[in-house]
């Protein structure tokens, strides 16, 4: 597959980066498939509904629907807080910014795709955003340039909090509530 070009802006300069087809794990290590077999014969998968109707998977579609069961207009995308998210252009159509990144940035990235790239940048890590197709949300991306080659890693940054002892033990540092003190006499009012 031919490489596709993206443009990245770092400072005042513009860097063209040729992006190849994503590297799948299967290409490196092979793959596993699961088949369901009985008496040496591969069985066919079907879908059963509660009334006993049997469908083959190709008979079934998973469709977006509204409360009435149909959708007359294309769905809109918004955040869980209700903020609308307009469609963003693919990285192949729109220039994105690039900045040098530290190891702390790279450690935060949960990768969902790896692309081999060709670019003219000094070795190091760089942060940018990427979306292969037009999408409402851009993916976090790290450009990893080594002397042997370069890769674009896309995914999402994961926030990991610092774990402090005080968070757990603040309970013991709180002022004592006078109501919690043991009464001198044991009350039996509850009975």
């Amino acid at each position: 597959m031919a490489n596709k070009l993206i443009l990245l802006q770092i400072g005042d300069s513009e860097v063209p980066v040729a992006v190849g087809a994503s590297i799948r794990r299967e290409e490196l290590y092979g793959r596993q498939t699961r088949t369901v077999e009985k008496d040496g014969l591969v069985l066919e998968k079907v879908v059963l509904d509660p009334e006993g109707n049997v469908f083959i998977p190709a008979d079934i579609a998973h469709l977006p629907t509204d409360g009435q069961g149909s959708l007359t207009t294309p769905p809109l995308v918004q955040t869980e807080d209700g903020e609308p998210l307009p469609q963003r252009l693919s990285s192949f159509k729109e220039k994105r910014t690039l900045r040098p990144a530290g190891l702390a940035d790279v450690a935060r990235l949960r990768v969902d795709a790896v692309f081999p790239v060709a670019c003219d940048l000094p070795p190091g890590f760089y942060c940018t955003e990427f979306t292969y197709r037009d999408a409402p949300v851009l993916k976090a991306a790290v450009l990893n340039v080594t002397s042997d080659g370069a890769f674009l890693l896309t995914g999402a940054f994961i926030e990991t909090p610092l774990q402090g002892q005080a968070d757990v033990y603040s309970f013991f540092d709180e002022d004592e509530d006078p109501d919690d003190e043991d009464p001198e006499e044991i009350s039996f009012e509850m009975f």
């Binding site: 369901v36 077999e37 014969l41 008979d59 610092l162």
Partner: protein
């Protein structure tokens, strides 16, 4: 569900500590209609995909619409069950076996075996061991990390244990490989039925606070051999 990892340092000190999931910084999205109603994905019968081509005569199409399946087309199927049958048969089959076939990167078949779900191995009698160290810069140039968790504590002893590990890793600017099994060299299986994965532990500290990331990898950062060969041809 709470996940616990039984972790041991190089000197044999060990503790069971919580394995926690971080928060994704990308905003979670939802699809809505123009009226703001949430869009749901439903399973729908869309027609009979498999109809014998010889039966699709003009007369049959006019009289019976065999490709549509009028009795059920368009029906929303709220609950469905996966089942198996012999190809072309009507009745369903039970007592079958799930066979896993392994193929090499070049597509040749390597192995066939009955599928047996793997058991989780991170909270066993033999703890997960902190093993081989690797410099951080090298780590990110060699592996692709598809998932990550972090370690937390529930009491002061666990806090001291984890803070000490984080300090050692941070001081050396290294990550440590985690290994399961009696020898501490097996990949981790986080949950029963899960996939074996290699894991590395990264440590950071800020005073008495620590951050211990567990980065999971199942892939090296390299171009497949087949692509490099075809590029040089």
């Amino acid at each position: 569900m709470k996940t616990t990892i039984h972790l041991s340092t190089e000197d044999g000190t060990n503790a069971r500590v919580p394995l926690l999931r971080g928060r994704r910084l990308t905003p979670r999205t939802m699809r809505v209609t123009a009226l703001g109603e949430e869009v749901q994905t439903r399973t729908v019968h869309r027609g009979n995909a498999r109809v014998d081509a010889e039966m699709l005569t003009t007369q049959a199409l006019v009289e019976g619409d065999p490709e549509i399946g009028l009795a059920t087309i368009g029906r929303i199927l709220p609950e469905t069950t996966r089942a198996y049958r012999r190809p072309g048969a009507v009745g369903l089959e039970g007592n079958f076996q799930v066979i896993v076939t392994t193929y090499a990167a070049d597509g040749t078949e390597k192995d066939r075996a009955v599928h047996t779900p793997r058991k989780a191995n991170i909270n066993e009698l033999a703890p997960v061991r902190i093993g081989k160290r690797i410099p951080l810069a090298e780590l990110f140039q060699r592996f692709v990390f598809h998932n990550q968790f972090h370690l937390g504590h529930e009491d002061g002893l666990q806090h001291e244990f984890l803070l000490a590990i984080a300090r050692r890793l941070e001081a050396a600017s290294e990550a440590a490989m985690l290994g399961a099994g009696p020898k501490g060299n097996q990949p981790l299986v986080l949950q029963t039925g899960g996939t074996p994965t290699r894991a590395f532990l990264l440590g950071e500290t800020d005073g008495e606070k620590y951050r211990l990331r567990v980065l999971l990898t199942r892939q090296e950062l390299k171009v497949p051999e087949a692509r490099t060969v075809s590029a040089t041809d």
